[in-house]
Symmetry: C2
Amino acid sequence: MEELKPSPANSCPLTPLGFLERTATVYGDCPSIVYHDATFTWSQTHRRCLRVASSLSSYGIGRGDVVSVVAPNTPAMYELQFAVPFSGAVLNNINIRLDARTISVLLRHSEAKLIFVDCASRELILEALSLFPHNTPRPALILIADENEPAAVNSTITGGDFLCSYEDMVERGDPGFRWVRPRSEWDPMVLNYTSGTTSSPKGVVHCHRGIFLVTVDTIIDWSLPKQPVYLWTLPIFHANGWSFPWGMAAVGGTNVCLRKFDASITYQLINRHRVTHLCGAPVVLTMLTNAPDNRPLDHPVHILTAGAPPPAAVLFRTESLGFVVNHGYGLTETAGLTVSCAWKPQWDKFPASERARLKARQGVRVAGFTEIDVLDPKTRKSVQRDGVSLGEVVLRGGFVMLGYLKDPIGTKKCMDDHGWFYTGDVGVMHEDGYLEIKDRSKDVIISGGENISSVEVESVLYTNPAVNEAAVVAKPDEFWGETPCAFVSLKDGLVEKPSEKDVIEFCREKMPHYMVPKTVVFKEELPKTSTGKIQKFVLREIAKGMGTTSRVSRM
Amino acid sequence: MEELKPSPANSCPLTPLGFLERTATVYGDCPSIVYHDATFTWSQTHRRCLRVASSLSSYGIGRGDVVSVVAPNTPAMYELQFAVPFSGAVLNNINIRLDARTISVLLRHSEAKLIFVDCASRELILEALSLFPHNTPRPALILIADENEPAAVNSTITGGDFLCSYEDMVERGDPGFRWVRPRSEWDPMVLNYTSGTTSSPKGVVHCHRGIFLVTVDTIIDWSLPKQPVYLWTLPIFHANGWSFPWGMAAVGGTNVCLRKFDASITYQLINRHRVTHLCGAPVVLTMLTNAPDNRPLDHPVHILTAGAPPPAAVLFRTESLGFVVNHGYGLTETAGLTVSCAWKPQWDKFPASERARLKARQGVRVAGFTEIDVLDPKTRKSVQRDGVSLGEVVLRGGFVMLGYLKDPIGTKKCMDDHGWFYTGDVGVMHEDGYLEIKDRSKDVIISGGENISSVEVESVLYTNPAVNEAAVVAKPDEFWGETPCAFVSLKDGLVEKPSEKDVIEFCREKMPHYMVPKTVVFKEELPKTSTGKIQKFVLREIAKGMGTTSRVSRM
């Protein structure tokens, strides 16, 4: 059978971009995007995306050029997930919460030719460009106006630094534009800088094939029905909103746009638009459950959470309100979920707290992904499936990134010749084949030779009803090497605030003594990255600054 | 970004075989297969498939060898869809309804090394092998016993011609066998002979990538939930049951096995197992609605129908019983659905008969497929989107076959350098972008220079309450060149049977005169292919044999 080779009829490149055209045919008259009082149809969205792509093309933007977008979850932001790659360009969403210096570095690193700038980020981007060295070519700027943005910076007058407005591009563009199909499915489609928790951002490049595969795999994993109503609580600039811009086009969903997550507004939008699905990091679940006006839902709302290990207590509280929570695990480097905690029917019979504990595990690979494993750091072999033996989580499959832009060494470091992608996350494999992430490699605390998972200590802290957020890091210790140090923010309006001693006592009852935090620091708020992750490296610095403990009497 | 190339961590071959291992992890204790009083779990099915693959391997079967299976939809048949490719071999399901001579030709053409034979096909295969020329190597035989098969041929005593029984292979195999992953996703995985409606069968070869893509695309298109209960009314030997053996493993469904379609038994099984999904050619819908003991369902059952254009009247009657019908279009050459009649919400408001008419159209490409079009036979350009202009349906996408085995000319003929696969089906494109198949190229009737779609005439005949089945073919005519000739079988138990004149009058009221059949032939039953399609070439021969009509007075 060796004579049978791929041919042009069957080897057409996989890409998620074709979803939009099909959905415009099927759901042309149905809502695609809802934003405040405006509603677009899929037919309109399709034509608007083609128009913008056509305008990009008329500006000379084409195959392989980088086009950046700095915007929250507005209709324009949604459209650009199609419009930019429709022009052949590589889409680079930039986190609006970054500072001007960082953005300046990213823009020079990516050599972006053009930037779409939301009105609220106008000053930020102008400042970032002012930091460009002399004689460095500057990207063209397009302003996205938004009458719903109260910030004074909002203005339809562009001029000066801006080439034109986003709506100008829509208006001037040709809705009959023939979008630029990738020549190969391995052609780059998106570039996402990981904010990570360290100071050196990396440019993750994904190809059309990878984005296609993660999108269809996530649709199947979440059993997305046709025409869901999806609320954009997850920022699209965060790993392309885990690829749901394309996923919603595939199933003809309604995208309810939202500039900024807010728990009260989320409850209002859920009721107003009969939202069926939304995504968010565990912090979103925490905010939904801790909101003073939280209320049981009158219809089921599916939440997919990922981005950090969710404490079981948070899952439990979220489900008590009527949300149906699914939990998964992925990285910017995998464009979306690679693992999800597929629910076993026999777990239904367990009490709610036990169900939450099981659901807090990351789970099994999604169906279309090839393999996951946990490797012993020394032997490089699979760890025992005992739920205890720690190792590094490794992955292989169709949506592992192509690599880091202009960083062959960084790319090589995390993808070796054995065909594994090394995540840098530490986990265990349970007897039943479910993965559980215990920590980032660098967040493991080594105390008296014992490895302590900071995530495990945190998940106990979260079961304390007074605790709002908790993070545990290593504090240098002369005797033990390191000891766990807990940073805790408390809930608003507590009648009686717990003391450090109370918290330590609470932990002693619930975990082995060596894992109990020796120090507890109360904070108004924990420092976060631009994507809402707690910045453990900041806390680690604080813990270091507190000096080493010379002696700990009890064990 | 040109430096970023595929690497072993992200370019692992796509294959549907990994679905089974994952589902054994998640749904290990849940039912995989139900057959009479036996139930298997996913954990058992996974281990049984690995055992059979291991035994195949110990017989020297490996990468690239062809292994044939001649069986109805039994548990073994389901397992072999995984077990054979697990061994690295190419899976070749053979239609049990073929005759010994044809099977003999196929086995020699495929050079099958080994055949799994269901007990009821034992004599058939022995006869097929007896037709092998002297000195031709013969495949090894494995007998699949089945205590539920009443045929006398059933016996656990194998010996003689048979190497061993299927259960022997299960028993002797190693459940820890490491299945043979494809080296490339373009490696052949299945070989399916199209019974077609002509006498020269062709060996369609699909690769792992193609089967993976059609499987995930169909899951999304049908919005398959997790753990559906799927009744195997569609023969697995018919284009691998449109790839649902792998699809059911992906979503952890329950496979209710069934040796032979029977309307009464189907209703019983639907009730007994709370069946949620099933597939079938339109003839299955006809049989379900015409069954004397048909009854409204007490829970929704989704039917996916494809394989031939369903008359709107049949769709209408099926939905009246409570079935939720989806309609799609594919070919053996595409491994499953490429097009489906995606439902537009605004159609809900139409009356049921109009809804059925809309649903009888083939529809739009499934989301992950690249393109479909209808080309004018002369200009080779897209026909007008007017619902009238006839042209050939052409396709391109990830699950178009690799090609026909040992037939480079046949392969080249249907897949040209423009990257289209030519289906040989004639259709129109409607204004709303929905495809409608009008006929096979060779089934179009050309009467007085007018093209008549036989399918269109048939769909009118089906609206006659007395008609059970109808097929219209060309009858040579001195004056008109050809005229439509209708073959009709009538329903059982009619009080008054219509005459030829009645049927012609019925048609005259409902279609242009030139389309009205000039001849109507009543038959007890229409001749069918082994896959249940009406054999138009047989009817055409009969029509020819009736001689040419010298003159037709009316027009």
